[in-house]
Symmetry: C2
Subunit: 229 residues, 2 copies
DNA sequence: AGGCTAGTGACAGCCACTGACAATTGACAA
DNA sequence: TTGTCAATTGTCAGTGGCTGTCACTAGCCT
């Protein structure tokens, strides 16, 4: 709050002069991040239901009302990072070359986006907190419910993307939606297993995903050999 | 509330003397049904969010507290019939002969259970109200979220069932969960399309389901022909 | 008939969330 | 530097879902 704040900030920040959000904007960003971190920290330590919005606000020393100005609700804060991750995934799908077969494109998009997502999150909160948050979501009915609904919305979006890639009409041809539903189904299964397991590393989820996607074919086979494979 | 209620009920009811729940029990049942009907009626006419629990209770002339003794919450009432339907579906799967391939068994189970479910529901509320309720769920975010979470739980249950049928271990072999996830994904897509469409008949959902299930293979093909089919 | 207990109503209270209004503070121009 | 405008925030009051408690009524059982 000194008189040289302006200069100090400009120098101290790693902003390459291209974008200088202004004091007000930066302050807002800091408040949002602080609220998010406090919320996730409290959620993952005491549990989601046992944490009140007042506690979160108090931890950041703002009014409860302010919390609701940054987040639509408790859920919104808890799922914030998921949304971040989802947008990265969608972007990854968009960038897949259109000569790849639909499922192939989706597969590469997830596997690839695991990394870029990590970086984006680290810029806001420690990755480790995000991992804990993910497990929290999987184990908290209220959060899982909202997360699954969001997943469905994303599936619709991706289905339209795929349809566009292939030059098809989603409302006429069932294949885009089906392909995405299949893919989404597998992702949900692997996500759940990953969250329930011990190894929370990116490698673990990557491998699990790849393995399960490889098993879609066999799982749909007329007759299953008893060989588990 | 006359003194001959007991006798009248015994005669009037279609209970074949095998089970006579007792006055208390019957009264409870009537209260529950009344609450359910009132709730669904209000939900589907005014909207879920715009209906308060007090309104529902008042419509049946009981205290708000009593509503919560019968239903865990507003959601619980709204999804009551879904749960009924789900249990029928699970039962149908259990009864499929074990020589059928997994997906074939699931397919037959749904298509078959559409009918038996109808009867079970009619015993509580008019089918037509159930149809409206289904559309309400699909179009109400809060309800859809919980419904999807329940779906996931059911998928897990079915996956274990399938694994058992095939003599496999769900935690070792990915195929049961994958197959069920694929199936569930298709069901969700068709359910959504059905709810959004005009034709709310059983035939419509049956045909839609069959068609979409038939397209799973093509949707997973390496290269999609441009023919929508 | 009379005790036992399930079911209920009435009341109090917690917490998520919202609208309204006033106070504060950054942004920008004079 | 100072004044004005607009964005942010705090405060207050209220709505609605949901829960705990307690006294009371009415089926049920011996």
């Amino acid at each position: 709050m000194t008189d040289t704040v302006g200069t100090a900030e400009t120098v101290g920040a790693a902003q390459p002069a291209a974008s200088r959000p202004g004091l007000r904007e930066r302050k807002k960003q800091r408040t949002r991040d602080a609220l998010l971190r406090a919320a996730l920290e409290l959620f993952t330590t005491q549990g989601y239901e046992r944490t009140t919005v007042d506690e979160i606000a108090e931890a950041v020393d703002v009014s409860q009302r302010t919390f609701f100005r940054y987040f639509a609700g408790k859920e919104d804060a808890a799922l914030f990072l998921q949304r971040l991750a989802e947008s990265h995934f969608i972007a990854a799908v968009r960038e897949r070359p259109s000569h790849e077969a639909p499922l192939e494109a989706l597969r590469r998009a997830v596997l690839e986006s695991w990394d870029t997502i990590g970086e984006a999150i680290e810029a806001v909160v420690p990755i480790e907190l995000h991992m804990r948050t993910y497990q929290l979501i999987e184990s908290t009915p209220a959060l899982l419910a909202v997360h699954l609904r969001r997943s469905e919305e994303i599936e619709e979006e991706i289905a339209r993307l795929i349809a566009e890639r292939e030059g098809l009409d989603v409302d006429t041809d069932p294949r885009p939606r089906i392909a995405v539903a299949v893919f989404g189904g597998v992702m949900r299964v692997t996500g759940r297993l990953w969250g329930a397991g011990e190894d929370t590393s990116v490698e673990a989820i990557r491998e699990l995903t790849a393995t399960y996607l490889d098993h879609v074919g066999p799982a749909l086979a007329e007759k299953w050999g008893t060989a588990p494979r």
